[in-house]
């Protein structure tokens, strides 16, 4: 299944399938990106990050792809499990000069995994 983030905020997939969550970021000068997972009633939790000098990074069952040309970020979850059900946010680090930056969050995509 695939989500286009802002336009399809809910993604429903079958357990065992792969999930792809997409995110369009705003600032071409952003140099660091993070995917967060937020379960109901909890704070966002770090999943994986990627720096702008990379276009792909893999973790355990997750892969982040970065396309700087079109300012697009995606999170791929392999063999999606019920425990993956959550809201997923992409965040970009926008520098404010020097080393001072802050994380700007996208609007989030809700992932629902059907058993």
């Amino acid at each position: 299944g695939e989500s286009v983030g802002l336009h399809l905020p809910t993604l429903s997939v079958q357990e065992g399938d792969n999930s792809i969550i997409n995110c369009a970021y705003s600032n071409s000068a952003s140099d660091y990106f993070i995917w967060y997972k937020q379960e109901s009633g909890k704070g966002p939790q770090f999943i994986i990050d990627i720096r702008s000098n990379m276009d792909k990074r893999q973790g355990q069952r997750v892969t982040v792809l970065l396309n700087k040309t079109v300012k697009h970020l995606s999170l791929q979850i392999a063999a999606t499990q019920p425990g993956d059900s959550a809201v997923y946010f992409c965040a970009e680090n926008i520098g404010r000069g020097g080393s001072q930056g802050n994380l700007i969050f996208g609007k989030g995509t809700k992932l629902s995994v059907k058993p």
Binding site: Y32, R96, S99, G101, G108
Partner: protein
């Protein structure tokens, strides 16, 4: 061990009241943040403190005043609460501010009635 802890978890109060939310981190981080999450799950940064000094203050009404007594604490005081202040407020911390992940607390659900 809780890394970033906020109190209270839930807060229900009347319009016009003044309330505070406390945040503590035991990660040894030098930067702390307050984020507001609205009913549509949109997360927006409010404040950022680095080594007890304010470095980011987004467009937030001056009824909101953060206080950082030391690097491990960043409290949020809100005066004259309004209905629109109802949201979930998240505290977070990080090591530095550039190219680094932020660790979030569990959130404080504020309901103004």
């Amino acid at each position: 061990d809780t890394a970033v802890s906020q109190t209270p978890k839930y807060l229900v109060t009347q319009m016009g009241n003044d309330k505070s939310i406390k945040c503590e981190q035991n990660l040894g981080h030098d930067t702390m943040y307050w984020y507001k999450q609205d009913s549509k799950k949109f997360l927006k940064i409010m404040f950022s403190y680095n080594n007890k000094e304010l470095i980011i203050n987004e467009t937030v009404p001056n009824r909101f005043s953060p206080k950082s007594p030391d690097k491990a604490h960043l409290n949020l005081h809100i005066n004259s609460l309004e209905l629109g202040d109802s949201a979930v407020y998240f505290c977070a911390s990080s090591h530095g501010t550039a190219n680094t992940e932020a660790f979030f607390g569990q959130g404080t659900r504020l309901t103004v009635v």
